[in-house]
């Protein structure tokens, strides 16, 4: 019976501070200072991150937006001006095409590759994955833009959305495979074996059993791919010449006044429209797929 001594020890320790009130109060005072300091620090950090967002929320509705955040003189003129820009809305559609196409390619091929790598014993598998992951950060990076441009030129993929999608997919695939393989590894093989005994073909097993079970993983990778392409500037900037094909990240770069100054009215309005689809996607995906996993395996 160890409960006995423990219950008697409880009141003894809680009674301790009473006779030594002096040091206890000093400690409380010092504690208050520490608390104030901590909250001040948190507030500063919070302000650092919140102010740009606040600017994004107010500047588009301001008649004369500046680089600082202030109460706006409310107007919707900025949106009207943006609609008059021939490329603005079209570029958002281009962004959706590029990121959607890349996400589809990445999810499809990463799922197939991750399943194979997870279930089939390939010699040197881990080294292969690690190598790919290491190199992938270079592939779509600045360092390889010259050879990539050369490659796209030879393959006649300059000024082609497909070219941009292929190159971005290539850069994202290794990391996507890595993430999805982890999901595949954590689903027990007995599900698939069970389906096999019932006579399911490999295609049926992948389609009916494996993919539905790693759906949260697929959603994660898709969202991550979309967000990556949405924010990518360099690849579409270099590979697409026709401004009608340019995505929002590139068009953003063109929003200047005649005097060469950044057009803050258009820029802030466009930024708001530019960020909305991604925010909506996150909300939708997390509510639709979430990170649920209904257990069918008794643990």
């Amino acid at each position: 019976m160890t409960a006995g001594p423990r219950t008697t020890a409880g009141p003894a320790t809680s009674a301790d501070p009473v006779p030594t009130a002096g040091p206890g109060a000093a400690l409380g005072w010092r504690g208050a200072v520490v608390q104030i300091g901590r909250y001040t620090f948190v507030s500063v950090v919070l302000g650092f991150f919140a102010l740009p967002l606040l600017w994004l929320a107010t500047a588009p509705f301001d008649r004369t937006p500046t680089i600082t955040t202030s109460l706006p003189e409310f107007t919707l003129d900025n949106f009207r001006a943006l609609l008059d820009n021939p490329y603005a809305l079209r570029s958002l559609w281009n962004s959706i095409l590029l990121s959607g196409g890349t996400a589809v390619l990445v999810v499809t091929f990463a799922a197939l590759a991750a399943y194979a790598l997870s279930r089939v014993r390939v010699p040197g598998r881990d080294a292969l994955l690690y190598g790919l992951l290491l190199l992938s950060s270079i592939v779509t990076g600045t360092a390889t833009m010259v050879p990539l441009y050369e490659l796209a030129f030879r393959l006649n993929l300059i000024d082609s959305r497909l070219g941009v999608i292929l190159i971005l997919s290539g850069g994202l695939l290794p990391a996507a495979i890595f993430i999805l393989k982890d999901f595949m590894d954590s689903t027990p093989t007995s599900y698939e074996e069970s389906a096999r005994v019932f006579g399911a073909s490999p295609v049926q097993i992948v389609w009916q059993i494996v993919l539905p079970m790693v759906r949260p993983g697929l959603a994660t990778v898709a969202v991550w791919a979309v967000a990556n392409v949405w924010g990518n500037f360099l690849v579409p900037f270099l590979l697409l010449r026709n401004p009608e094909k340019a995505p929002a990240a590139v068009i953003m770069y063109t929003l200047y006044t005649e005097g060469g100054q950044a057009n803050l009215a258009l820029l802030s309005t466009f930024s708001l429209l530019y960020s909305l689809p991604v925010v909506l996607m996150f909300v939708f995906v997390s509510s639709r797929y979430g990170f649920r996993f209904h257990g069918g395996i008794k643990r």
Partner: protein, 387 residues
């Protein structure tokens, strides 16, 4: 419904691990058959080889009249219930039960009817719209059984069917499983490491060790006349007492005491043979008063088993060496005092003699030493692996 015949079945994993070693086994049509053994003995590999999830490296598997050795699992007409049940988490109970029919391309309405019908047989009617994660362990098991039943297989394969249930539910599920098998009349092979489960459920048991079958028989045969000391030690909730002994005329000398020579062994032993005397704790009677021709020893431990007690005695070494332990099961109210001396008499016809680990004088004409074991009561000749 079909019989299963295994011929010279062997499985060597890449890397040289020999999981199955030339097995010969016949499982009769409609039989409830247990594969029993300690972990790593190859019992699960054997089950998976019958299912087709493992490919035999030698020998043949026959189900009914068909040689299925090289057939895909889906073409063997078997159903398997996995240890973890493997219910698809993204499907409802109804979709899970109907999944084998979905593979066979039955229309949705037919699948729904069949699922409802099967679920009703197993008392799952109210649960059809739930997901596996919302079911208790016992319910999950019944859904897994229903899914296996829905495709009307010739053979049921169960991998450790009761191991994932808690103790009380396990007894319930055991009775349920046995009744279900009787009603369906389907050939059923299950794997277990629990000898009590095998004894309770199976019509016949194959006891395995190191990729080989050490004995095949009905629960009564395996329990009363273990073919070798491995089976003797493995079967029974308390292991068999195995004591070094020596044959002396028409008696056998155990720890300095002359005991009657077991009848079937009489013809195959000679005076002075070194043997092992085996007798189950349940087949020993403990007396507190001195008796002639009884093993006597000091009571060192008394363990309560509920309606009986397990008493451990220290027998003095017969030739002056250290003492040996002996365990006796005594009925309620007959427990001896700790430290007192007890006299133990084996019941007639219940003791066995082993030489080199093999039973001497097996019944049914077969000589166990050569590795041939008598056929079980439900039919099907069986040859054990070479010893």
């Amino acid at each position: 419904m079909a019989a299963i015949t295994l011929r010279r079945l062997g499985k060597v994993y890449p890397g040289g691990v020999r999981a199955l070693d030339g097995l010969d086994l016949s499982i009769a049509d409609g039989e409830f058959f247990a594969l029993l053994g300690p972990s790593g003995c190859g019992k699960t590999t054997l089950l998976r080889t019958i299912a087709g999830l493992e490919v035999a490296t030698e020998g043949a598997v026959q189900i009914g009249d068909r040689d299925v050795t090289n057939l895909q699992p889906g073409r063997r007409d078997v159903a398997m219930v996995f240890q973890d049940y493997a219910l698809f988490p993204h499907m409802t109970v109804e979709e899970n039960i109907g999944y084998p029919l979905r593979i066979k391309k039955l229309p949705r309405s037919a699948r729904r009817d069949k699922a409802a019908e099967t679920a009703a047989e197993l008392g799952l009617t109210g649960l059809l719209d739930r997901r596996p994660g919302q079911l208790s362990g016992g319910q999950q098991q019944r859904v897994a059984l229903a899914r296996a039943m829905a495709c009307h297989p010739q053979v049921f394969l169960l991998d450790e069917p009761l191991s994932n249930l808690d103790a009380r539910l396990r007894l319930e599920a055991r009775t349920f499983l046995k009744r279900l098998q009787r009603e369906l009349g389907v050939t059923c092979v299950f794997v277990t490491h629990d000898q009590a489960e095998a004894l309770a459920l199976a019509d016949r048991i194959a006891v395995m060790e190191g990729g080989r079958i050490r004995q095949v028989g009905t629960p009564v045969e395996v329990f009363r006349r273990p073919a070798n000391t491995f089976v003797a030690g493995f079967i029974g909730s308390t292991p068999m007492n195995l004591l070094d002994a020596e044959v002396a005329g028409d008696a056998v000398v155990v720890a300095g005491t002359r005991l009657p020579l077991p009848e079937p062994a009489r013809a195959v032993v000679a005076d002075g043979d070194r043997v092992v005397y085996g007798v189950r704790p349940e087949y020993l009677d403990l007396h507190t008063a001195p008796l002639d021709d009884a093993l006597s020893g000091r009571v060192v431990v008394v363990e309560n088993l509920g309606s009986s007690s397990l008493v451990s005695l220290d027998l003095p070494g017969g030739d002056g060496v250290a003492g040996v332990g002996l365990q006796v099961v005594v009925p309620e109210g007959r427990e001896p005092e700790l430290g007192s001396t007890g006299w133990v008499v084996p019941r007639a016809g219940r003791s066995l003699l082993y030489r080199d680990g093999e039973l001497l004088g097996a019944d049914g004409g077969g000589v166990v030493g050569s590795g041939v074991v008598g056929a079980g009561a439900t039919g099907g000749g069986v040859v054990g692996g070479p010893a």
